[in-house]
Symmetry: C2
Subunit: 282 residues, 2 copies
Protein backbone atom coordinates (compact mmCIF):
# COMPACT_ATOMS: atom_id res chain seq x y z
CA UNK A 1 0.00 0.00 0.00
CA UNK A 2 1.33 3.36 -1.01
CA UNK A 3 1.01 6.09 1.59
CA UNK A 4 0.20 9.57 0.31
CA UNK A 5 2.25 12.12 2.24
CA UNK A 6 -0.50 14.58 3.00
CA UNK A 7 1.19 17.96 3.15
CA UNK A 8 -2.13 19.77 3.17
CA UNK A 9 -3.26 18.00 6.32
CA UNK A 10 0.01 18.52 8.17
CA UNK A 11 0.13 22.16 7.07
CA UNK A 12 -3.36 22.62 8.52
CA UNK A 13 -2.30 21.07 11.82
CA UNK A 14 0.75 23.34 12.01
CA UNK A 15 -1.09 26.50 11.05
CA UNK A 16 -3.94 25.75 13.47
CA UNK A 17 -1.35 25.58 16.24
CA UNK A 18 0.21 28.86 15.09
CA UNK A 19 -3.20 30.54 15.02
CA UNK A 20 -4.05 29.29 18.51
CA UNK A 21 -0.72 30.49 19.91
CA UNK A 22 -1.12 33.93 18.36
CA UNK A 23 -4.70 34.27 19.66
CA UNK A 24 -4.00 32.96 23.13
CA UNK A 25 -1.02 35.21 23.75
CA UNK A 26 -2.19 38.22 21.72
CA UNK A 27 0.95 38.11 19.61
CA UNK A 28 1.47 40.61 16.82
CA UNK A 29 3.78 39.06 14.21
CA UNK A 30 4.03 41.06 11.01
CA UNK A 31 5.30 39.96 7.63
CA UNK A 32 6.33 42.29 4.80
CA UNK A 33 6.32 40.97 1.25
CA UNK A 34 8.01 42.88 -1.55
CA UNK A 35 6.63 42.19 -4.98
CA UNK A 36 8.23 43.69 -8.08
CA UNK A 37 6.31 43.76 -11.35
CA UNK A 38 3.34 41.60 -12.19
CA UNK A 39 4.56 38.11 -12.94
CA UNK A 40 1.24 36.19 -12.85
CA UNK A 41 2.65 33.25 -10.82
CA UNK A 42 4.13 35.68 -8.28
CA UNK A 43 0.74 37.37 -7.99
CA UNK A 44 -0.87 34.06 -7.01
CA UNK A 45 1.92 33.14 -4.58
CA UNK A 46 1.80 36.50 -2.84
CA UNK A 47 -1.99 36.40 -2.61
CA UNK A 48 -1.87 32.89 -1.08
CA UNK A 49 0.65 34.02 1.50
CA UNK A 50 -1.44 37.08 2.41
CA UNK A 51 -4.56 34.99 2.71
CA UNK A 52 -2.91 32.42 4.95
CA UNK A 53 -1.35 35.12 7.13
CA UNK A 54 -4.73 36.81 7.58
CA UNK A 55 -6.31 33.48 8.58
CA UNK A 56 -3.70 32.98 11.29
CA UNK A 57 -3.73 36.47 12.74
CA UNK A 58 -0.38 37.40 11.19
CA UNK A 59 -0.47 40.93 9.88
CA UNK A 60 0.94 41.22 6.39
CA UNK A 61 1.82 44.12 4.20
CA UNK A 62 2.62 43.86 0.51
CA UNK A 63 4.89 46.46 -1.02
CA UNK A 64 4.20 46.50 -4.73
CA UNK A 65 6.86 48.03 -6.92
CA UNK A 66 6.76 48.51 -10.69
CA UNK A 67 8.86 46.18 -12.84
CA UNK A 68 11.10 49.11 -13.81
CA UNK A 69 11.91 50.06 -10.21
CA UNK A 70 15.59 50.85 -9.73
CA UNK A 71 17.73 48.60 -7.58
CA UNK A 72 18.44 51.62 -5.40
CA UNK A 73 14.77 52.21 -4.69
CA UNK A 74 14.19 48.55 -3.98
CA UNK A 75 17.12 48.53 -1.54
CA UNK A 76 15.73 51.68 0.08
CA UNK A 77 12.46 49.83 0.74
CA UNK A 78 14.35 47.03 2.44
CA UNK A 79 16.29 49.44 4.64
CA UNK A 80 13.00 51.00 5.74
CA UNK A 81 11.58 47.58 6.61
CA UNK A 82 14.80 46.63 8.43
CA UNK A 83 14.43 49.71 10.63
CA UNK A 84 10.70 49.32 11.22
CA UNK A 85 10.40 47.59 14.61
CA UNK A 86 6.85 46.46 13.80
CA UNK A 87 8.06 44.35 10.87
CA UNK A 88 9.40 40.97 11.97
CA UNK A 89 9.86 39.19 8.67
CA UNK A 90 10.79 40.36 5.18
CA UNK A 91 10.26 38.31 2.03
CA UNK A 92 11.28 39.34 -1.47
CA UNK A 93 9.10 37.47 -3.95
CA UNK A 94 11.24 35.92 -6.66
CA UNK A 95 11.92 36.14 -9.54
CA UNK A 96 13.09 39.75 -9.76
CA UNK A 97 13.44 41.61 -13.07
CA UNK A 98 16.70 41.05 -14.95
CA UNK A 99 18.13 44.50 -14.26
CA UNK A 100 18.15 43.92 -10.52
CA UNK A 101 20.96 42.08 -8.75
CA UNK A 102 18.97 39.49 -6.82
CA UNK A 103 21.63 38.61 -4.28
CA UNK A 104 22.42 42.24 -3.50
CA UNK A 105 18.75 42.76 -2.72
CA UNK A 106 18.37 39.66 -0.56
CA UNK A 107 21.64 40.43 1.21
CA UNK A 108 20.21 43.80 2.27
CA UNK A 109 17.66 42.08 4.51
CA UNK A 110 18.65 42.03 8.18
CA UNK A 111 19.44 38.34 8.89
CA UNK A 112 17.08 38.36 11.87
CA UNK A 113 14.21 39.37 9.57
CA UNK A 114 15.26 37.06 6.72
CA UNK A 115 12.22 34.77 6.82
CA UNK A 116 13.38 32.69 3.84
CA UNK A 117 16.91 32.09 5.16
CA UNK A 118 18.43 33.23 1.87
CA UNK A 119 20.96 35.79 3.15
CA UNK A 120 24.58 34.65 3.13
CA UNK A 121 24.68 34.70 6.91
CA UNK A 122 21.68 32.43 7.37
CA UNK A 123 22.54 30.18 4.44
CA UNK A 124 26.10 29.90 5.73
CA UNK A 125 24.87 28.93 9.20
CA UNK A 126 22.70 26.25 7.61
CA UNK A 127 25.54 24.94 5.43
CA UNK A 128 28.01 24.91 8.32
CA UNK A 129 25.57 22.88 10.42
CA UNK A 130 24.52 25.63 12.83
CA UNK A 131 21.09 27.10 13.53
CA UNK A 132 20.19 29.98 11.19
CA UNK A 133 17.52 32.53 12.16
CA UNK A 134 15.30 30.88 9.56
CA UNK A 135 15.58 27.71 7.52
CA UNK A 136 14.42 28.04 3.89
CA UNK A 137 10.71 27.21 3.86
CA UNK A 138 10.52 24.46 1.24
CA UNK A 139 13.36 22.20 2.50
CA UNK A 140 12.18 22.76 6.07
CA UNK A 141 8.68 21.73 5.03
CA UNK A 142 9.97 18.58 3.33
CA UNK A 143 11.92 17.46 6.39
CA UNK A 144 8.91 18.17 8.62
CA UNK A 145 6.59 16.17 6.39
CA UNK A 146 8.97 13.18 6.37
CA UNK A 147 9.28 13.44 10.16
CA UNK A 148 5.48 13.46 10.54
CA UNK A 149 5.37 10.05 8.87
CA UNK A 150 8.37 8.80 10.90
CA UNK A 151 10.47 8.36 7.79
CA UNK A 152 14.08 8.18 8.92
CA UNK A 153 16.82 9.40 6.59
CA UNK A 154 19.62 7.59 8.43
CA UNK A 155 21.80 5.62 6.03
CA UNK A 156 19.34 6.09 3.17
CA UNK A 157 20.41 6.85 -0.37
CA UNK A 158 18.66 10.06 -1.42
CA UNK A 159 18.71 11.56 -4.89
CA UNK A 160 17.91 15.28 -4.90
CA UNK A 161 17.24 16.57 -8.41
CA UNK A 162 17.76 20.30 -8.87
CA UNK A 163 20.44 22.52 -7.34
CA UNK A 164 18.60 25.75 -6.67
CA UNK A 165 19.38 27.86 -3.63
CA UNK A 166 15.71 27.67 -2.70
CA UNK A 167 15.27 23.90 -2.61
CA UNK A 168 17.95 21.54 -3.94
CA UNK A 169 21.06 22.89 -2.27
CA UNK A 170 19.70 23.52 1.23
CA UNK A 171 17.70 20.27 1.17
CA UNK A 172 20.81 18.26 0.20
CA UNK A 173 22.65 19.70 3.16
CA UNK A 174 19.76 19.09 5.58
CA UNK A 175 19.32 15.50 4.41
CA UNK A 176 23.05 14.88 4.75
CA UNK A 177 22.84 16.22 8.30
CA UNK A 178 20.22 13.52 8.97
CA UNK A 179 22.82 10.96 7.84
CA UNK A 180 21.43 10.27 4.38
CA UNK A 181 23.93 9.72 1.57
CA UNK A 182 22.84 12.46 -0.80
CA UNK A 183 23.35 12.43 -4.55
CA UNK A 184 23.03 15.98 -5.87
CA UNK A 185 21.66 15.59 -9.41
CA UNK A 186 20.82 18.33 -11.89
CA UNK A 187 20.37 19.17 -15.55
CA UNK A 188 23.97 18.15 -16.34
CA UNK A 189 23.71 14.78 -14.63
CA UNK A 190 24.48 11.96 -17.01
CA UNK A 191 22.11 8.99 -16.79
CA UNK A 192 19.78 10.24 -14.06
CA UNK A 193 17.93 6.93 -14.15
CA UNK A 194 20.98 5.03 -12.94
CA UNK A 195 20.86 7.13 -9.76
CA UNK A 196 17.10 7.16 -9.18
CA UNK A 197 16.77 3.40 -9.80
CA UNK A 198 18.92 2.55 -6.80
CA UNK A 199 17.64 5.32 -4.53
CA UNK A 200 15.66 4.94 -1.31
CA UNK A 201 14.37 8.50 -1.65
CA UNK A 202 13.92 10.65 -4.74
CA UNK A 203 13.20 14.36 -4.41
CA UNK A 204 12.50 16.21 -7.62
CA UNK A 205 12.79 19.98 -7.62
CA UNK A 206 13.62 20.43 -11.28
CA UNK A 207 10.42 21.97 -12.66
CA UNK A 208 10.07 19.48 -15.52
CA UNK A 209 6.74 17.68 -15.87
CA UNK A 210 7.00 13.90 -16.28
CA UNK A 211 10.73 13.97 -15.46
CA UNK A 212 10.38 10.94 -13.22
CA UNK A 213 8.52 7.99 -14.67
CA UNK A 214 7.70 4.59 -13.24
CA UNK A 215 10.62 2.84 -14.96
CA UNK A 216 13.11 5.10 -13.14
CA UNK A 217 12.00 4.11 -9.65
CA UNK A 218 12.82 1.20 -7.43
CA UNK A 219 9.90 -0.58 -5.72
CA UNK A 220 9.34 0.88 -2.26
CA UNK A 221 11.01 4.20 -3.01
CA UNK A 222 9.96 7.35 -1.13
CA UNK A 223 8.99 10.11 -3.56
CA UNK A 224 8.91 13.84 -2.84
CA UNK A 225 7.65 16.05 -5.64
CA UNK A 226 8.59 19.72 -5.39
CA UNK A 227 7.81 20.52 -9.03
CA UNK A 228 5.14 23.06 -9.84
CA UNK A 229 4.29 22.97 -13.54
CA UNK A 230 1.24 24.46 -15.18
CA UNK A 231 -0.01 22.31 -18.05
CA UNK A 232 -3.32 23.21 -19.69
CA UNK A 233 -4.20 25.31 -16.66
CA UNK A 234 -3.65 22.30 -14.40
CA UNK A 235 -0.98 22.09 -11.72
CA UNK A 236 1.29 19.04 -11.94
CA UNK A 237 4.63 18.12 -10.40
CA UNK A 238 7.82 16.59 -11.85
CA UNK A 239 6.68 13.05 -11.08
CA UNK A 240 4.37 11.03 -13.27
CA UNK A 241 2.17 10.54 -10.21
CA UNK A 242 -0.29 7.92 -11.39
CA UNK A 243 2.25 5.36 -12.55
CA UNK A 244 5.00 6.10 -10.00
CA UNK A 245 2.48 5.88 -7.16
CA UNK A 246 2.06 2.16 -7.77
CA UNK A 247 5.71 1.50 -7.02
CA UNK A 248 6.37 4.03 -4.25
CA UNK A 249 6.06 3.34 -0.55
CA UNK A 250 5.36 7.02 0.17
CA UNK A 251 4.62 9.81 -2.28
CA UNK A 252 3.66 13.49 -2.10
CA UNK A 253 0.87 14.69 -4.36
CA UNK A 254 0.82 17.92 -6.39
CA UNK A 255 -1.10 19.91 -5.33
CA UNK A 256 -1.52 19.17 -1.64
CA UNK A 257 2.02 18.01 -0.89
CA UNK A 258 5.00 20.31 -0.49
CA UNK A 259 3.18 23.49 -1.60
CA UNK A 260 1.04 23.92 1.53
CA UNK A 261 4.01 22.88 3.72
CA UNK A 262 6.06 25.72 2.25
CA UNK A 263 3.43 28.30 3.17
CA UNK A 264 3.00 26.78 6.64
CA UNK A 265 6.77 27.04 7.22
CA UNK A 266 6.70 30.67 6.10
CA UNK A 267 4.08 31.36 8.74
CA UNK A 268 6.02 29.43 11.37
CA UNK A 269 9.24 31.27 10.48
CA UNK A 270 7.41 34.61 10.76
CA UNK A 271 6.12 33.73 14.22
CA UNK A 272 9.53 32.45 15.34
CA UNK A 273 11.28 35.63 14.18
CA UNK A 274 8.64 37.71 16.00
CA UNK A 275 9.22 35.81 19.24
CA UNK A 276 12.98 36.02 18.87
CA UNK A 277 12.88 39.76 18.26
CA UNK A 278 10.57 40.24 21.25
CA UNK A 279 13.01 38.30 23.43
CA UNK A 280 15.74 40.80 22.51
CA UNK A 281 13.66 43.88 23.33
CA UNK A 282 14.76 46.06 26.23
CA UNK B 1 49.78 5.11 -17.59
CA UNK B 2 48.71 6.62 -14.30
CA UNK B 3 49.43 10.32 -13.92
CA UNK B 4 50.53 11.49 -10.48
CA UNK B 5 48.83 14.80 -9.68
CA UNK B 6 51.86 16.66 -8.42
CA UNK B 7 50.53 19.11 -5.85
CA UNK B 8 54.00 19.94 -4.63
CA UNK B 9 55.10 21.09 -8.07
CA UNK B 10 51.98 23.18 -8.73
CA UNK B 11 52.19 24.68 -5.22
CA UNK B 12 55.77 25.71 -5.97
CA UNK B 13 54.72 27.34 -9.24
CA UNK B 14 51.94 29.25 -7.50
CA UNK B 15 54.04 30.36 -4.55
CA UNK B 16 56.92 31.44 -6.80
CA UNK B 17 54.46 33.70 -8.60
CA UNK B 18 53.18 35.08 -5.29
CA UNK B 19 56.73 35.75 -4.12
CA UNK B 20 57.62 37.53 -7.36
CA UNK B 21 54.50 39.70 -7.21
CA UNK B 22 55.19 40.70 -3.61
CA UNK B 23 58.82 41.53 -4.34
CA UNK B 24 58.18 43.40 -7.55
CA UNK B 25 55.46 45.63 -6.10
CA UNK B 26 56.84 45.89 -2.55
CA UNK B 27 53.59 44.53 -1.14
CA UNK B 28 53.21 44.05 2.60
CA UNK B 29 50.61 41.32 3.20
CA UNK B 30 50.40 40.19 6.80
CA UNK B 31 48.86 37.02 8.21
CA UNK B 32 47.92 36.47 11.85
CA UNK B 33 47.65 32.92 13.14
CA UNK B 34 46.02 32.19 16.48
CA UNK B 35 47.16 28.98 18.12
CA UNK B 36 45.56 27.75 21.33
CA UNK B 37 47.33 25.11 23.42
CA UNK B 38 50.05 22.80 22.21
CA UNK B 39 48.47 20.13 20.07
CA UNK B 40 51.56 18.61 18.38
CA UNK B 41 49.96 18.44 14.90
CA UNK B 42 48.84 22.08 15.18
CA UNK B 43 52.39 23.03 16.13
CA UNK B 44 53.70 21.50 12.91
CA UNK B 45 50.96 23.04 10.75
CA UNK B 46 51.50 26.51 12.19
CA UNK B 47 55.25 26.23 11.78
CA UNK B 48 54.88 25.17 8.14
CA UNK B 49 52.59 28.11 7.43
CA UNK B 50 55.02 30.54 9.08
CA UNK B 51 57.93 29.10 7.16
CA UNK B 52 56.14 29.34 3.82
CA UNK B 53 54.98 32.89 4.55
CA UNK B 54 58.53 33.97 5.40
CA UNK B 55 59.81 32.43 2.15
CA UNK B 56 57.28 34.43 0.13
CA UNK B 57 57.72 37.77 1.86
CA UNK B 58 54.43 37.52 3.71
CA UNK B 59 54.80 38.78 7.23
CA UNK B 60 53.24 36.45 9.76
CA UNK B 61 52.56 36.74 13.43
CA UNK B 62 51.56 33.83 15.65
CA UNK B 63 49.49 34.56 18.74
CA UNK B 64 50.02 31.69 21.12
CA UNK B 65 47.42 31.27 23.83
CA UNK B 66 47.40 28.70 26.62
CA UNK B 67 44.96 25.79 26.32
CA UNK B 68 42.98 27.14 29.29
CA UNK B 69 42.45 30.58 27.72
CA UNK B 70 38.89 31.82 28.19
CA UNK B 71 36.65 32.23 25.17
CA UNK B 72 36.34 35.90 26.10
CA UNK B 73 40.09 36.45 25.93
CA UNK B 74 40.33 34.59 22.67
CA UNK B 75 37.54 36.73 21.20
CA UNK B 76 39.30 39.84 22.49
CA UNK B 77 42.40 38.82 20.50
CA UNK B 78 40.33 38.52 17.36
CA UNK B 79 38.75 41.94 17.88
CA UNK B 80 42.22 43.45 18.21
CA UNK B 81 43.33 41.77 14.96
CA UNK B 82 40.13 42.89 13.20
CA UNK B 83 40.91 46.51 14.13
CA UNK B 84 44.61 46.31 13.26
CA UNK B 85 44.90 47.75 9.75
CA UNK B 86 48.27 46.05 9.25
CA UNK B 87 46.72 42.60 9.59
CA UNK B 88 45.11 41.39 6.34
CA UNK B 89 44.29 37.80 7.15
CA UNK B 90 43.32 35.98 10.34
CA UNK B 91 43.50 32.23 10.78
CA UNK B 92 42.44 30.32 13.88
CA UNK B 93 44.29 27.02 13.95
CA UNK B 94 41.88 24.17 14.63
CA UNK B 95 41.10 22.17 16.70
CA UNK B 96 40.27 24.45 19.64
CA UNK B 97 39.95 23.16 23.21
CA UNK B 98 36.56 21.69 24.15
CA UNK B 99 35.52 24.57 26.41
CA UNK B 100 35.63 27.05 23.52
CA UNK B 101 32.74 27.50 21.11
CA UNK B 102 34.55 27.12 17.81
CA UNK B 103 31.94 28.75 15.62
CA UNK B 104 31.54 31.76 17.91
CA UNK B 105 35.29 32.31 17.63
CA UNK B 106 35.46 31.93 13.86
CA UNK B 107 32.37 34.12 13.46
CA UNK B 108 34.17 36.92 15.28
CA UNK B 109 36.64 37.28 12.40
CA UNK B 110 35.82 40.12 10.02
CA UNK B 111 34.71 38.40 6.80
CA UNK B 112 37.19 40.44 4.78
CA UNK B 113 40.04 39.03 6.91
CA UNK B 114 38.62 35.49 7.03
CA UNK B 115 41.42 33.79 5.08
CA UNK B 116 39.93 30.30 5.50
CA UNK B 117 36.44 31.29 4.34
CA UNK B 118 34.87 29.67 7.40
CA UNK B 119 32.67 32.54 8.64
CA UNK B 120 28.95 32.15 7.95
CA UNK B 121 29.03 35.07 5.56
CA UNK B 122 31.82 33.67 3.38
CA UNK B 123 30.60 30.09 3.61
CA UNK B 124 27.09 31.24 2.73
CA UNK B 125 28.39 33.13 -0.30
CA UNK B 126 30.19 30.00 -1.42
CA UNK B 127 27.15 27.77 -0.88
CA UNK B 128 24.82 30.22 -2.66
CA UNK B 129 27.14 30.27 -5.67
CA UNK B 130 28.58 33.76 -5.21
CA UNK B 131 32.17 34.89 -4.68
CA UNK B 132 33.24 34.86 -1.02
CA UNK B 133 36.18 36.97 0.17
CA UNK B 134 38.10 33.70 0.49
CA UNK B 135 37.40 30.14 -0.59
CA UNK B 136 38.43 27.48 1.95
CA UNK B 137 42.02 26.54 1.17
CA UNK B 138 41.81 22.77 0.75
CA UNK B 139 38.83 22.56 -1.64
CA UNK B 140 40.23 25.52 -3.58
CA UNK B 141 43.56 23.72 -3.85
CA UNK B 142 41.86 20.55 -5.10
CA UNK B 143 39.95 22.36 -7.84
CA UNK B 144 43.12 24.20 -8.89
CA UNK B 145 45.12 20.98 -9.07
CA UNK B 146 42.46 19.30 -11.23
CA UNK B 147 42.36 22.40 -13.44
CA UNK B 148 46.14 22.29 -13.86
CA UNK B 149 45.84 18.84 -15.40
CA UNK B 150 42.83 19.90 -17.52
CA UNK B 151 40.54 17.47 -15.74
CA UNK B 152 36.98 18.57 -16.44
CA UNK B 153 34.28 17.83 -13.89
CA UNK B 154 31.41 18.38 -16.32
CA UNK B 155 28.92 15.51 -16.17
CA UNK B 156 31.28 13.38 -14.07
CA UNK B 157 30.13 11.29 -11.16
CA UNK B 158 32.13 12.35 -8.13
CA UNK B 159 32.08 10.66 -4.73
CA UNK B 160 33.25 12.96 -1.94
CA UNK B 161 33.89 11.04 1.28
CA UNK B 162 33.70 13.11 4.46
CA UNK B 163 31.36 15.99 5.28
CA UNK B 164 33.55 18.38 7.23
CA UNK B 165 33.13 22.13 6.90
CA UNK B 166 36.81 22.34 5.99
CA UNK B 167 36.85 19.94 3.04
CA UNK B 168 33.90 17.70 2.23
CA UNK B 169 31.03 20.16 2.32
CA UNK B 170 32.59 23.09 0.46
CA UNK B 171 34.25 20.77 -2.06
CA UNK B 172 30.92 19.05 -2.82
CA UNK B 173 29.36 22.42 -3.54
CA UNK B 174 32.29 23.57 -5.70
CA UNK B 175 32.31 20.34 -7.71
CA UNK B 176 28.56 20.59 -8.23
CA UNK B 177 29.08 24.13 -9.50
CA UNK B 178 31.43 22.64 -12.12
CA UNK B 179 28.53 20.39 -13.21
CA UNK B 180 29.68 17.18 -11.56
CA UNK B 181 27.01 14.94 -10.06
CA UNK B 182 28.26 14.77 -6.50
CA UNK B 183 27.58 11.96 -4.07
CA UNK B 184 28.19 13.18 -0.53
CA UNK B 185 29.34 10.11 1.38
CA UNK B 186 30.34 9.90 5.03
CA UNK B 187 30.71 7.58 8.02
CA UNK B 188 26.99 6.69 7.94
CA UNK B 189 26.99 5.81 4.24
CA UNK B 190 25.81 2.26 3.67
CA UNK B 191 27.88 0.30 1.14
CA UNK B 192 30.46 2.93 0.23
CA UNK B 193 31.96 0.56 -2.31
CA UNK B 194 28.79 0.57 -4.40
CA UNK B 195 29.25 4.33 -4.86
CA UNK B 196 33.02 4.41 -5.40
CA UNK B 197 32.95 1.51 -7.89
CA UNK B 198 30.86 3.47 -10.37
CA UNK B 199 32.54 6.84 -9.78
CA UNK B 200 34.61 8.85 -12.24
CA UNK B 201 36.24 10.74 -9.37
CA UNK B 202 36.75 9.72 -5.76
CA UNK B 203 37.86 12.26 -3.17
CA UNK B 204 38.58 10.93 0.28
CA UNK B 205 38.67 13.37 3.18
CA UNK B 206 37.74 10.95 5.91
CA UNK B 207 40.99 10.56 7.82
CA UNK B 208 40.97 6.76 7.75
CA UNK B 209 44.08 5.00 6.45
CA UNK B 210 43.41 2.29 3.87
CA UNK B 211 39.75 3.36 3.56
CA UNK B 212 39.91 3.08 -0.23
CA UNK B 213 41.38 -0.10 -1.62
CA UNK B 214 41.93 -1.27 -5.17
CA UNK B 215 38.77 -3.41 -5.26
CA UNK B 216 36.60 -0.32 -4.59
CA UNK B 217 37.77 1.58 -7.66
CA UNK B 218 36.78 1.51 -11.29
CA UNK B 219 39.57 1.38 -13.86
CA UNK B 220 40.46 4.89 -15.01
CA UNK B 221 39.07 6.61 -11.93
CA UNK B 222 40.53 9.95 -10.79
CA UNK B 223 41.66 9.78 -7.18
CA UNK B 224 42.15 12.69 -4.80
CA UNK B 225 43.49 11.85 -1.36
CA UNK B 226 42.93 14.47 1.33
CA UNK B 227 43.61 12.14 4.25
CA UNK B 228 46.49 12.87 6.59
CA UNK B 229 47.15 9.92 8.87
CA UNK B 230 50.27 9.31 10.91
CA UNK B 231 51.16 5.62 11.06
CA UNK B 232 54.47 4.60 12.65
CA UNK B 233 55.69 8.18 12.26
CA UNK B 234 54.94 8.03 8.53
CA UNK B 235 52.38 10.21 6.77
CA UNK B 236 49.82 8.32 4.70
CA UNK B 237 46.47 9.23 3.16
CA UNK B 238 43.09 7.49 3.07
CA UNK B 239 43.89 5.69 -0.16
CA UNK B 240 45.89 2.50 -0.42
CA UNK B 241 48.16 4.29 -2.87
CA UNK B 242 50.30 1.44 -4.21
CA UNK B 243 47.44 -0.81 -5.28
CA UNK B 244 44.92 1.91 -6.24
CA UNK B 245 47.55 3.66 -8.36
CA UNK B 246 47.55 0.78 -10.82
CA UNK B 247 43.88 1.31 -11.65
CA UNK B 248 43.63 5.09 -11.46
CA UNK B 249 44.04 7.43 -14.40
CA UNK B 250 45.14 10.28 -12.10
CA UNK B 251 46.02 10.13 -8.42
CA UNK B 252 47.36 12.51 -5.78
CA UNK B 253 50.16 11.27 -3.53
CA UNK B 254 50.43 11.79 0.23
CA UNK B 255 52.59 13.67 1.00
CA UNK B 256 53.12 15.97 -1.98
CA UNK B 257 49.51 16.16 -3.19
CA UNK B 258 46.79 18.23 -1.54
CA UNK B 259 48.87 19.23 1.51
CA UNK B 260 51.20 21.67 -0.29
CA UNK B 261 48.26 22.98 -2.35
CA UNK B 262 46.41 23.89 0.86
CA UNK B 263 49.34 25.97 2.12
CA UNK B 264 49.77 27.60 -1.30
CA UNK B 265 46.09 28.59 -1.31
CA UNK B 266 46.46 30.06 2.17
CA UNK B 267 49.28 32.24 0.88
CA UNK B 268 47.28 33.19 -2.19
CA UNK B 269 44.22 34.03 -0.09
CA UNK B 270 46.37 36.20 2.20
CA UNK B 271 47.75 38.13 -0.75
CA UNK B 272 44.28 38.52 -2.29
CA UNK B 273 42.81 39.86 0.96
CA UNK B 274 45.72 42.29 1.25
CA UNK B 275 45.11 43.61 -2.27
CA UNK B 276 41.37 43.84 -1.70
CA UNK B 277 41.83 45.78 1.54
CA UNK B 278 44.32 48.13 -0.13
CA UNK B 279 41.81 48.79 -2.90
CA UNK B 280 39.30 49.97 -0.28
CA UNK B 281 41.72 52.36 1.42
CA UNK B 282 41.01 56.08 1.27
Amino acid sequence: MTVILDGKLLAEKITAKIRAEILKNSLKPKLAVIKVGDNPASLIYVRNKQKKALELGIESVVIELPSNVSEENLLEQIYILNEDTEINAILVQLPLPEHINKQRVIEAIEPIKDVDGFTSYNFGRLALGYQPYSFPCTPKGIIRLLDEYNISLEGKKAVVIGRSNIVGKPLSILMQRRNATVIMAHSKTVNLKEHTLSADIVVSAAGHPYLITEDMINKGCIIVDVGINRIDNKLIGDIDFNTVKEKASYITPVPGGIGPMTIAMLMENTLELYKLQKSFEL
